[in-house]
Symmetry: C2
Subunit: 168 residues, 2 copies
């Protein structure tokens, strides 16, 4: 397989993977592109490679920066901004975990806590079923929270970081 072909296939696969994860396709594609390029790219490079508009490029690059997956790079003597992606996939995974936890798990925990305060007689089986479900979910959510925190911290701390390297 030729490089150009392989690149195209990788970008398209990564794109559809992103789509299944509620991440928009273009955003995932830009990320894929930046991951496999040895040097940073400008907005124009990205537009040209992926055949997308300037506005779209800008929006999605900005979003990737918010996620902490892409960095702005300034090349001395150049007016343009360039962009590069984190290439260590473990870092990518922890960034994503951190971000999704913040956006999804934290709010659901908040909601579940509120919902535990539902009024009603525990002898009513509807009330009982509801409370039981919420309580289980809440317990599970807290476990997940802990698990994700350990995973995210593993990268950051020297000790776990070193330990992790054994697995990579």
């Amino acid at each position: 397989m030729k490089l150009a072909e392989a690149k195209a296939q990788f970008i398209q696969s990564w794109g559809s993977l992103g789509a299944q994860w509620g991440i928009n396709r273009t955003m995932a594609q830009i990320h894929a592109l930046l991951m496999i390029m040895p040097d940073p790219l400008s907005a124009d490079d990205i537009m040209a490679e992926l055949n997308i508009s300037r506005g779209n490029t800008n929006m999605n690059v900005r979003e990737l920066i918010n996620w902490g997956l892409v960095d702005r790079v300034l090349i001395p003597g150049e007016r343009k901004e360039y962009f590069s992606a984190e290439k260590d996939i473990w870092k990518v995974a922890t960034e994503i975990a951190r971000e999704r936890k913040r956006r999804e798990l934290d709010p659901i925990i908040k909601t579940l806590n509120q919902l535990q305060e539902v009024e009603g007689d525990m002898k009513d089986k509807h009330v009982k079923a509801f409370r039981d479900s919420i309580q289980n979910l809440n317990k599970f959510a807290h476990q997940s929270d802990k698990a994700i925190n350990s995973f995210v911290k593993a990268e950051e701390s020297w000790f776990y970081g070193t330990l992790m390297k054994l697995f990579k």
Copy 2:
């Protein structure tokens, strides 16, 4: 908070959580509804509770059954089909993990394996960057695969199952 209100809020939260996960909102809502109901519901019950059409109900219930998250329940002497959801959230989590692995991770591993065979001179930095990225991703994908398998198996095997209960 009254039960009806709490129920409505839970269903709507679970629905938007699902949406962020690339699962369609109605499907997540039906799942939420069935989780908190003490007894199985019929298609008509679901339609009435969520204000959705018959077709929509049918499609999404079927999909939930495919995922293994909902079961058809036959009530003796009744013509209608009833539906109930798995209420043990750990089982739900492992079912989802299993299903997503099958749909997402397995194909990406297949693709990555193919892409490793890209031709080209390793002295070309584009080729080198590409191969390095793919190799890292592949390593990561295999690690994830193992991790998910252990998680999924934990529920199934008696030994891990018992161990897991300590955490619940």
